[in-house]
Symmetry: C2
Subunit: 232 residues, 2 copies
């Protein structure tokens, strides 16, 4: 299906990739606010208007970078889980490994992290294309909890009467087979994990938390406890 038809299409693919690469370089270096189409075009030796043949607007370019960032952090999480699994880790250890991997990715790619988990900068709502890659990290956590649940090693967290099962509705393929209590606790833990990382990254822990790595490890483990993963 990926038969390269001619020089034209091949060139288009290459130029598109070059634009994205240069844009990602600038994003990593200066942040999303400083990323300009004109600067990217200048660096690539083309004129700014030519760039619009490949991306219809600056926001579209940013969206492409957002998708790449989601894929990048998602891959980091999946690889960390796979490594832990290979090492015969228990669910709670896998949870910790993935948390650490997510934090490490965020510290390594602060501007890309801010792009996806900070304020949504381009216009407002995320396009449909982003939801797939965006859920890779979440799915990794779900797999871990599902494994624990299948192995009967999951302590059900309490669910108050006020929270109806429908309140936490998951996309069909991922709620499958998990009790509502677990999905609710899982989603909350996931949001809280990002809150911890965001606070550290955005400077809210300045003059408050000293040893941030140790603090994060502890907090992540508490989150694992909260979703019912038994201590090792």
């Amino acid at each position: 299906m990926s038969t390269v038809r001619g020089a034209r299409e091949r060139a288009r693919i290459e130029v598109t990739a070059a634009i994205k690469d240069e844009a990602r370089r600038m994003l990593a270096a200066e942040g999303a606010a400083k990323l300009s189409l004109r600067a990217v075009a200048r660096e690539l030796g083309m004129v700014s208007s030519a760039l619009y043949r490949y991306f219809p607007s600056r926001d579209e370019l940013l969206t492409a970078l957002i998708i790449d960032a989601y894929d990048s952090i998602g891959a980091a999480a999946e690889q960390a889980d796979a490594r832990a699994l290979d090492a015969g880790a228990a669910p709670r250890e896998r949870w910790g490994a993935v948390c650490e991997a997510v934090r490490a990715w965020a510290l390594d790619h602060p501007h890309e992290y801010a792009l996806i988990y900070g304020s949504p900068v381009p216009g407002y709502s995320a396009p449909m294309d982003t939801v797939g890659p965006a859920s890779r990290v979440g799915n990794t956590f779900i797999n871990i909890v599902r494994a624990a649940h299948a192995g009967r090693g999951l302590a059900l967290p309490p669910l108050p009467a006020v929270l109806r099962p429908e309140a936490v509705r998951m996309t069909a393929d991922f709620a499958e087979g998990l009790p509502a209590e677990v999905t609710a606790a899982l989603v909350a833990a996931w949001a809280q994990l990002i809150g911890l990382i965001s606070f550290e990254l955005f400077g809210q822990f300045n003059r408050v938390v000293e040893d941030r790595a140790a603090f994060f490890t502890h907090a992540a483990d508490q989150l694992a406890h909260g979703v019912g993963l038994p201590a090792v």
Copy 2:
């Protein structure tokens, strides 16, 4: 001390306030990215260069808005706690009331929330002036936990050996008299609370969480449990 010296100073104060008000209006309407000095000046019937007599740069204006936003959300939290206290609420109920107030403020002021708890947009590090107002919400939670601790109604959360007491170092006036376990759990809970609100506000709960109010109430109560506040 606030003796108004002359018409000149009075005018300066008024114009400065008018600029901030108009800027806040635009921030609330369109977001920080769309806020422009020229548009503010235009709306106020002055020329853009005149505005630089009052704010040396766009970032300085944004910083002023950030401080106001911190004060606004801080006041909302304090008032909610005061109301709960007047109603004779237990610490855990006060905690819930403040959480709800913070979330309500965020939903009412999404762009201002994004400005202070989303990606740090102006340059990078927050100036010193912001740390005072920024800690008002956190101090509210500290007061609640301190009250519970003084009343012997606080269950100490576990602190693993890996997390030394120095790891969570607080500014002197607010760690005072609280065990390290509690401060650590408190800071984590505070970060996690912001994570929950950010996920809801930034669209990460789309197609995932249905009844967000009930979900938040439940999660906030779990956080209260995590810091050791006893159930009512």
